[in-house]
């Protein structure tokens, strides 16, 4: 009764403390609720996505050939529907009374544990009970093509655990999430603890008085716990509201960031991507929050009663503390620095708690933003064509080996070449793409006559890539070794090889024996094989190819370092020697004018690759439709835009979640700091008055206060920088292990090693500025109020 009354009075009278403590509880519970709600929503969305695409836990596929077996199926379905859930049947009748039956089984309750651990075995037993021979049923582990019935588990069961295997996986997922949440929850305990610690510290003297007039230790702890109870009710309710609101905001932002459109159809997104509050998780968050508040309150009560009343009243301790005479701040900023240092360090625990929370917040901000920026940069780099991707879309046109088909092409009939301009025009006329760049590509097998090559590399593939002007300029980044016009005029090539074997090649011609490939029809295979046995270069899969050697030479205008072009992987992958020519040269017939090459070019396949970007990113669907309508013109298309869009959407989503977490962490750190610093000032009002009484000027007082704030930020900054560097070292080591070579991996992600270690430091410094401002505000607002009171009153 007395404890309740006093606790209630403290809450009402010490409004600032109550508000700050409620803020701490709200922030802590809010963060847990937000994380749990996001986790619940994610799992629910996963389930809904799975359910909407495969609304069943398992499929039973049976091939049956008599009525008896049909009866067994009916037995099974009846039994299943009666006891376990819904079963949908799809029957496909074939000839000779053979039918294929697919049964989609959806369990509306988990499997009874006693029936065994696995869903497929459980269904197999049910089928056996229905009349089938158990040996005819193949389950997941023993898929046997010869069996009659297959049971295949769907992924739905992962999000809606049915059997013990699913449950185990589920437990692993939850456990991993819980480990992460546990870390945060433990950190939050510190926040709530600090709030109570500060509140009790300020009242330590009063608790001492209460004890001195007869309050028992139990009554003192009761005051704290009752106070905790009152505050937790408000704090937890606000925390739930804040957590749900924050989670909802994050959810809406994530959905609006383009994730939904990038990964799912509008219909599926509408059905499956919904905000979900998991009641059990909410209960856990509330229980954990309540438990933490009560533990903190009780723990604080225990700390209070540890002291003898006289120690609490006189703020005197029986232990003698050593004071550092020389502090860094003292040396740097004179006596005000020394005083600031001592003021901060005399409340070591508070200082540590404040620094730890600020450090956690800054480190999280610096390392998360560094990682996200690095990943974003990598994606942008891809968009910037530095990792082998020239454009968002690539449409392919392919001229097959079979010349009969080619000859039907009017272009071929008219000009003796295939009509890629007609394809180019289609892209241009669509109006949704940028001006296409293109490349005509073909290859010849050759016996290399270069003297620099040993026997093992005798046989090579020689690629000929004819680039249009735009593409030529693009891949050489505007600095080609030979100008486009000069290359066209001289009917020459720029040579590079992917294996780096021609380093130092300086000849202006490249001589090789081209292997003329002739496809042989199956029926003539044996005859030709016996006749031209020595001309079958390859056996095995190339058995049908018969090659004849013809000596060829090409003009080499320049040799380029492989490294320079290797970023355009599609140009070099698989190539051994590549010659880059111009589309003009190809079109003028220079390439084909050479009689032997002309013959070869007629027999070799040609690919044309058109590269283009979307003019407007919103026209993505039009691009897909364009391909669908032009399937006659293009063999296929590769869609880098889609994967980039997905990655960008995914990174944005991660960014939003990381930012939300960051904001809450920063909020927690700021609440902590405001609590600690403002309380520190208010508690020392008498002391500050004493300083002023003995002649401390306002300027000196301000300087001391600024230095106190600076020290928090300074220490947190140093610790954060060290932590960030440790995280970076661990990242590099991890990447070294994963990528097998840290240097390249680090370069890929961060640009270079220097960046990797400087970026987080710069971010820490960026975070320190608002932290310092918050610290100043937390100190100066109460200080200003204090200054308004006359010295004597204080």
């Amino acid at each position: 009764m007395f404890a309740r009354k006093l606790a209630w009075r403290y809450i009402k009278e010490q409004k600032r403390h109550s508000v700050l403590t409620i803020c701490s509880i709200t922030a802590a519970v809010g963060l847990v609720v937000m994380l749990f709600t996001l986790l619940g929503t994610t799992l629910r969305c996963c389930y809904e996505i799975q359910y909407n695409s495969t609304p069943f836990h398992a499929t039973v596929t049976a091939i049956i050939d008599n009525k008896e077996q049909r009866e067994y199926i009916n037995n099974f379905v009846e039994d299943f529907r009666e006891n376990y859930g819904t079963a949908d049947l799809y029957i496909e009748e074939a000839e000779d009374d053979i039918s294929r039956i697919d049964i989609y089984c959806f369990f509306d309750k988990p499997l009874p544990i006693s029936t065994g651990s696995r869903l497929d075995l459980f269904i197999a037993d049910m089928l056996a009970k229905s009349g089938f021979d158990r040996n005819e049923i193949a389950v997941e582990s023993d898929r046997d093509i010869a069996r009659r019935i297959f049971i295949i588990k769907s992924n739905l069961s992962l999000y809606n655990p049915i059997d013990n295997v699913d449950r185990a996986q589920w437990i692993v997922i939850i456990a991993v999430a819980m480990v992460f949440v546990a870390f945060i929850i433990i950190a939050l305990r510190m926040l709530i603890d600090t709030a109570f610690e500060i509140s009790s510290k300020e009242r330590e003297r009063q608790f001492g008085v209460l004890q001195s007039i007869g309050a028992t230790p139990k009554q003192i702890t009761q005051i704290m716990t009752v106070e905790g109870l009152f505050l937790s009710v408000v704090g937890i309710l606000l925390g739930i509201a804040l957590g749900i609101a924050a989670a909802y905001l994050v959810f809406v932002l994530v959905i609006k960031s383009g994730v939904a459109e990038a990964f799912f159809t509008t219909e599926l997104a509408e059905k499956a991507l919904n905000f979900h509050i998991e009641p059990i998780m909410l209960v856990i968050a509330v229980v954990v929050g309540f438990l933490w508040v009560m533990l903190s309150a009780y723990g604080t009560g225990l700390r209070v009663i540890k002291k003898m009343p006289v120690e609490a009243i006189s703020a005197r301790s029986n232990t003698v503390k050593k004071i550092k005479n020389n502090t860094v701040f003292g040396k740097l900023f004179g006596w005000e620095g020394m005083l600031a240092s001592r003021n901060n360090f005399r409340q070591k625990k508070r200082f540590t708690i404040s620094v730890v929370s600020l450090t956690a917040s800054i480190t999280l901000f610096a390392s998360a933003t560094t990682a996200i920026t690095a990943v974003k940069d990598v994606i942008l780099k891809r968009g910037d064509n530095t990792s082998g991707i020239l454009s968002e879309f690539r449409f392919n046109y392919y001229r097959p080996y079979d010349n009969s088909k080619l000859k039907q092409d009017i272009g071929y009939q008219k000009y003796g070449m295939f009509m890629y301009h007609e394809r180019e025009d289609r892209i241009k006329k669509s109006g949704i793409f940028t001006e296409p760049m293109y490349m005509i590509s073909t290859f010849l097998e050759c016996a290399d006559k270069s003297e620099t090559v040993d026997e093992n590399t005798y046989y090579k593939i020689v690629y000929f890539n004819f680039l249009n002007r735009e593409m030529y300029e693009k891949i050489f980044e505007g600095k080609p070794p030979v100008s486009y016009d000069e290359l066209s005029k001289n009917n020459s090539y720029i040579m590079y090889d992917n294996n780096g074997e021609y380093t130092g090649f300086s000849s202006d011609t490249f001589v090789f024996n081209a292997l003329e490939n002739v496809r042989i029809e199956e029926e003539y295979k044996d005859d030709i094989r016996s006749e031209y046995a020595d001309k079958f270069i390859y056996d095995g899969i190339n058995d049908y190819v018969f090659s004849e050697e013809t000596e060829q030479s090409v003009n080499v205008a320049a040799y380029v370092d492989t490294q320079e072009l290797s970023k355009y992987l599609h140009l070099s992958i698989g190539s051994e020697v590549t010659f880059i020519g111009t589309a003009d040269s190809f079109e003028s017939g220079e390439y084909m004018r050479e009689p032997d090459l002309m013959m070869l070019s007629n027999s070799a396949p040609h690919d044309v690759y058109f590269y283009c970007d979307l003019l407007d990113a919103d026209d993505y669907q039009l691009a897909a439709d364009f391909y669908d309508k032009n399937k006659d013109a293009f063999i296929d298309y590769s869609d880098e835009f889609e994967s980039m869009r997905r990655t960008v959407a995914f990174v944005s989503a991660v960014n939003i979640i990381a930012t939300a977490l960051n904001i809450i962490f920063a909020l927690i750190a700021v609440i902590n700091m405001i609590n600690i610093l403002s309380t520190g000032i208010i508690n020392r009002r008498r002391e500050i008055a004493a300083y002023q009484c003995i002649g401390m000027s306002e300027k000196q007082l301000n300087k001391m206060t600024i230095l106190e704030s600076l020290q928090y930020v300074f220490v947190s900054g140093i610790v954060s920088m060290i932590l960030c560097e440790v995280i970076m070292v661990l990242t590099v080591v991890l990447m070294n292990i994963v990528a097998g070579g840290a240097e390249n991996a680090v370069d890929y992600l961060f640009g270079n090693m220097f960046n990797a270690f400087v970026m987080p430091v710069l971010r820490v410094i960026t975070a320190l500025v608002p932290a310092f401002l918050a610290a100043l505000l937390a100190s100066f607002i109460p200080l200003r109020k204090l200054k308004k009171q006359p010295l004597v009153e204080r």
Binding site: F2, Q14, I213, T216, V310
Partner: protein, 225 residues
């Protein structure tokens, strides 16, 4: 009949070089109804002695008996009950609970004891102390003299075996000082209340039955007035 007996009381702070002996083998007894003044220079150990008698601090060695009971043989909970029922403490700086009004502050030890204060007793006490009109005021709304009256009321309300006052007038003007001492003396006489008062004020000391003088944690004189 001795109400309070102190035997060889020692209290030291710190260790080694930093060791400070606040009390060094103090022994004396106080009979029931006596008003005792403890005087001495600053740092002589007066307050430490008072705090140990009031069981708000523990001695390094030695014993304190109140009504024949060894005070420090009790655990912390029983010590709190002991303080609540047997001791009334008055501080120089009043030490009132800022969130409770004058009446609540005064009746707090009884409320903590789970008992309901008798309204008539409360009224009489407030009247005697001259703060009836301020009963619902918070400490911050009271003057120093009024706060000390509340503090005295709190110390006397439970009729404790002994009232301990640590410089009760140290923070007050002479008029208020005289009134406070008058109140203490009155309760000593009328209720036969045993009192130990720490003071620097010779006038107050001379109004007491007995004066003990401390120096460097030792009794250097013990005389009856």
């Amino acid at each position: 009949m001795e109400l309070l007996t102190i035997e060889n009381l020692c209290k030291t702070y710190g260790k080694g070089e930093n060791e400070v002996k606040a009390l060094d083998g103090i022994s004396f007894s106080v009979p029931k109804g006596q008003m005792l003044a403890i005087v001495g220079a600053s740092g002589s150990g007066k307050s430490t002695l008072l705090h140990i008698i009031g069981a708000v601090d523990r001695p390094t060695s030695g014993k304190v008996y109140l009504d024949g009971q060894d005070v420090f043989k009790q655990n912390n909970s029983n010590l709190a009950i002991f303080r609540r029922r047997q001791v009334g403490l008055i501080y120089q700086f009043y030490n009132l609970i800022p969130v409770l009004n004058a009446e609540e502050n005064m009746t707090l030890p009884m409320i903590m004891d789970g008992r309901k204060p008798d309204p008539a007793h409360v009224n009489k006490m407030l009247e005697d102390l001259g703060i009836a009109s301020r009963r619902y005021h918070l400490p911050s709304q009271l003057s120093g003299g009024q706060q000390q009256r509340v503090s005295i009321g709190r110390a006397l309300f439970n009729s404790p075996s002994v009232v301990l006052a640590d410089e009760p007038t140290g923070n007050l003007d002479s008029k208020n000082s005289a009134e406070i001492v008058g109140l203490l003396r009155k309760s000593n006489k009328e209720l036969n209340q045993t009192m130990i008062i720490i003071t620097h004020d010779e006038k107050i000391a001379l109004q007491c039955d007995r004066i003990i003088t401390l120096s460097d944690g030792k009794i250097i004189s013990d005389s009856n007035n």
